[in-house]
């Protein structure tokens, strides 16, 4: 999401005059994402209070099917709609950020959605190809979707500290940022968030790793 947001801001041609709008956009998106995440946790909580073994549920739809007799059809259907929406957003952002990454490392591949398919075939192929590949993997019978989802998110969390560190370095570079260089108070919050993400990722990875040997 970090790389998607910076690439998307550049692709839209945002300028320093758009920083306020960008901050509002980011704040609204952050609150909505946190609300959605919290809502999923709350929605799935009845499974645990009813003693349902969630490790036996293969994927998100397995959770919805298990919730059906516990919370009723409307709530389970709402849960499924939320999962579909979250999946659609994730597919769009991850495939787009992959295409942006290809555009940054491959000269001439293009790094914007503005050029047509013919003008930037490699860029669009990376975007569409990744989404198609993910869809293909999901459709393979017996694919361990829950394990893939959990471990992919865990790996993304583990890989986040370097990205946060580099962003902090750049945001504190007066030559690069000019008058918009990070304030001390911003650094305190940013470092606290980076440390928290690092600790949370480490804890989840270590618990999962140790769990193999039990």
């Amino acid at each position: 999401m970090l790389s998607f947001q910076q690439s998307e801001a550049a692709d839209e041609g945002m300028t320093p005059r758009d920083i306020r709008q960008g901050r509002i956009d980011t704040a609204v998106g952050t609150v909505l994402a946190a609300l959605a995440g919290g809502a999923i946790v709350v929605a799935a909580a009845p499974l645990f209070t009813h003693g349902i073994d969630t490790s036996a549920l293969g994927s998100g739809t397995g959770f919805a099917e298990a919730m059906h007799p516990v919370v009723g059809r409307p709530a389970a259907a709402l849960f499924v709609v939320g999962l579909i929406e979250a999946g659609a957003v994730a597919m769009l952002t991850i495939s787009a950020s992959t295409a942006y990454a290809v555009g940054e490392v491959a000269a001439g591949a293009g790094h914007s959605f503005n050029p047509s398919l013919r003008q930037a075939p490699a860029f669009h192929a990376a975007n569409i190809g990744l989404a198609a590949m993910a869809a293909g993997i999901v459709l393979i019978p017996g694919t361990p979707l829950l394990s893939i989802t959990l471990n992919a998110n865990l790996l993304a969390t583990v890989l986040m500290p370097p990205a946060l560190l580099f962003i902090l370095i750049m945001a504190n570079d007066p030559e690069l940022m000019g008058a918009r260089v990070n304030r001390r108070s911003t650094n305190v919050v940013a470092i606290a968030v980076a440390v928290l993400v690092t600790l949370a990722g480490s804890a989840a990875a270590i618990v999962a790793f140790v769990g193999i040997f039990r």
Partner: protein, 72 residues
């Protein structure tokens, strides 16, 4: 710990006043001037190496956990 590198790196001194006044297509050209290589302090180098070690060790654990979960 200071996050600042040395104040100047020799090339690519951005004219922020100019950049603020440019249109989106002009800003792309103005902002694309290369900056010199970042020279980290000793403390920052230690942090970067610590993050490298963290990523290698923890990522290996995650990958191993994933492989074991799909093969068992």
């Amino acid at each position: 710990m200071s996050l600042d590198g040395p104040a100047l790196r020799g090339v690519g001194h951005a004219d922020h006043a100019l950049i603020d006044g440019l249109e989106p297509d002009q800003i792309m050209a103005a902002a694309s001037s290369p900056f010199g290589r970042y020279r980290a302090s000793c403390g920052m180098n230690a942090v970067v190496w610590a993050v490298r070690a963290f990523v290698l060790i923890i990522a290996a654990m995650v990958v191993y956990t994933f492989i074991m979960s799909i093969t068992s």
